[in-house]
Structures are given as C-alpha cells and as structure tokens.
Symmetry: C2
Subunit: 216 residues, 2 copies
DNA sequence: TAAAAAGTTTAGACTTGTCTAAAAAAATAA
DNA sequence: TTATTTTTTTAGACAAGTCTAAACTTTTTA
C-alpha cells in the first residue's frame, strides 16, 4: 500500500489534471499547502513507483496505475461524504474535512459494502460523480450557469467551488442540487444574473454564476 | 491533537493497565510489535505531555488526561466495530483491523452522530462495553467459564481473546454473545468442560473456558 | 535575443518514529 | 549478598516527509 502522503499527492495531481494536462510542481505545492522543494522530492518517489510520468521541469501526468489509485481514493472520499450527509445528516458544507481522513481507510471490502449499504449512489452531496470499484464513472457534461443566455434553463447539478462559505451561501439561497433554474435577466453592467428558481427570483453575481454548474 | 503513534501507545497502555497497575516497557513493546528502545523514547514524549506518569525503570500509568484520550479512542474503535457488524454485516472476527484504522478519525461530532445513528449501543460485537462521550461505561463484572462449577450457569457476554481464530471457533460452535450456558461436567484429567447450550452439549478445552466470559 | 523574472531542483538540515548495540539498573538465583 | 539474568535506558543511526537557501532551467519581457 501507499503512504498517506503519497495518496494525497496522487489525488491532488488527479484533480489538477482535469484543468491542465501537465501539472506543475507549484500547482501541487499550492494544492497541498506545502513547498515546491517538498513536491519535487515526492515526485521522484512517485515516478520511481511508476505512478506518475515525470521529467524534470516539465510537470507530471498520472500513469494508468497512478490514476487507478487516485480514483479509488476519490471513490472513498465521495462515498463517505454521501454517508455523512445521508445517514448522519451532516450538511454538505461540513463533510469535506472528515472525508479527507476517511478516504485513507484501506479496506476495499469495506468501501464496497458501504456502497451497497447506501444503494450505490451515483453522486456525492456536491454533485460530483462517484467512481465504481473499477474507477469508472460517467463523465456527464456540466457547464456553469454563467454560460447560459437569457431564457435558457437547466438543473443545478454541481459546484466548482467546494468551500464551506460558497456552499453555505447556496444553501441559504436555496440553490441546491436538483433545483431547476431559468435565467430571466443578465445585467449588462456586471454580468450578474437573475434566476427564476421555483416561485422566486434570485440575483446572483457573475462569480457565483461561474461556480454553480448545471446539467445540459 | 495527538499523533497516530501516540494514540496507539495510550490505547495499549490503557488495555495493559487492566491487568497490571504499572505497565512495563516490554509489555508495551510486545503489544505494539515494536522494540523496548522505541517505547522508552515514546514514553518520554507522553510524559512531557502529561499523558502518563513515568519514572525510569518503574513502568507507567496513565494520567487522567491520558486515560480520557485512551477511552475516546476505544469508544471510536468499538462504535466502528458495531457499525461494521450491524450495518455492513461483517462477521465479528473480521472487524478489528478495519476499526484499528477508523478509530483514528478525529471528529468528535462524527462519532457522536454515529452513536446516535446506531441508537447508542452499549457493547461492541465482542461484548466489550462502549464508553459514552465522556468516557464512562458500566464496569459490569465478567468471569471466565473456567471459574464455574458443575451445574452453574451464565450468559455468554464477552471474550478474553479477540483473535480471529478464537472468534471463528466460537462462531462454529455457536458459542456466541447472549447464549445461555450451563456446565454439565468437568473432566478431571484435563479440566475441559462439557456445556449445555440450548439443545446441544458442547465440549470445550480449559483454554477455551478461560477465554470465554459470562455475566454473573 | 539578452536580461529579468518565475518556476524548479539540489543540498543540507530538521522532526517523528523507528532500529541496533552497548551501558546501566533491577530482579533473581546461588 | 554477590553473581547472573532480565529489563530498561542511552547513544547513535536511519527512513519518510518536510523545510530554507542557493543553484539551475524555463519563460517572459524589453
């Protein structure tokens, strides 16, 4: 098995890979709240284990083996988040830190039984897909509300920002997963948007519109 | 918070304290599968943190602060074991290793909610008491079946040996928690015992009789 | 396209927790 | 009660993962 530190590096590299093909040392350092020099050391270890492709100064990509491990950790993280919200009734902005610890529990059998216990959920409380035991999941397309035009609509299906502050704001505005929204107006001046959500109109900034995702 | 290693030392010292008031360096080393020299190093650290009372060559006892931490870890361990057996349907001999990892998840709120989710169980799957959030639990008296005389009876309520091999043996013999047993005969030669359990008679060795506990 | 800036790696050090080997203390035995 | 054995501690070393400071690449800018 891999160490806790190795698992966290692989997970970070996976997440960063979704935005950039090659992930840089500094990006990883920022994500893990560590220093670039520490990252370089770890990249060498991960490359020795054939979990990443690494060439000095060129950034890294995950190998198939590395991606498999990353996806397994992400599966565990999201299943535990689902458990915390659905079974223990935590709020969606409270579960990330706990799941950061729980994702490192090693037993595969445990996580498969947890999956079954919850009846094989497809998404975590933030709308992110939960990989199956082989690491597969549907890469359904989401886009930010900011990409919509007036009179277009969609169903809230995910968030780009997972910070408690953002999630709490959404909760308060009733902008939660599954809600149907329609853009009724876009303000020229600041590109903020007015949404129709159920019976009410909600005014959101462009910042929020960029971080709130809908299914197409 | 304390490190994983510190938590494991405190837990071991707590368990060993149940048999001996002062716990020796070698006992701890054996329990943690480490060397006496490593134990000495850690004992200094724990003493510096005022979690144990330590005088060179004299063995250790837990301070109130150390015992509180130990009991909290044991609470977490036993609640997770209960979860694994009752909710995920693992067998009682399969859960120890998983709980060894899960007991280090730090959130107190999480464990309190888990406790509530399972309706505040009083004992783990092996019959060991689950401390409440303040570390309190009823120290009800158990004694080994080996202490019984012919025609005396009791209810199986715990085990002294938690090894999978022993637990699997008990499971196969239907000697599980809650079963009512009565001693029908004690063989002079080897002190093995014949028990009446429900409709059948079961012959157990003295070794087993010493490790299987009943409520008085 | 040369100089400056930004990003990355190396070198050497530190912490945690572990180890072996040797020294010291305590317990046991003759 | 001295000698032997057992237990414990100390000394010094090591691996993992991190850090700072300095050196080296790459990218950007003028």
């Amino acid at each position: 098995m891999n160490t806790l530190a190795e698992e966290n590096y692989l997970k970070s590299i996976y997440h960063l890979s979704l935005n950039d093909v090659n992930v840089s040392t500094n990006q990883i350092a920022a994500a893990l709240n560590t220093k670039a020099a520490s990252v370089t050391d770890m990249l060498k270890k991960l490359a020795d284990k054939a979990l990443i492709n690494y060439a000095k100064y060129q950034g890294v990509t995950l190998t198939a083996a590395g991606e498999k491990i990353a996806l397994h950790i992400i599966r565990k993280h999201r299943l535990w988040e689902y458990f915390l919200v659905e079974k223990l009734h935590f709020k969606w902005d409270e579960v990330h830190e706990m799941a950061e610890e729980m994702e490192h529990i090693s037993s595969i059998e445990l996580i498969d039984r947890l999956d079954k216990f919850m009846d094989y959920p497809k998404h975590d409380p933030h709308g992110d897909p939960i990989p199956d035991r082989n690491g597969n999941f549907k890469k359904y397309e989401l886009k930010p509300i900011a990409a919509l035009n007036v009179n277009e609509n969609g169903i809230i299906s995910g968030v780009r920002d997972h910070s408690p502050a953002f999630l709490q704001y959404l909760e308060k505005q009733q902008l939660t997963i599954g809600k149907k929204i329609k853009v009724t107006e876009i303000i020229d001046y600041d590109l903020s948007m007015i949404l129709q959500v159920e019976q009410t109109e909600i005014h959101i900034s462009r910042e929020v519109a960029k971080n709130l995702l809908i299914a197409i």
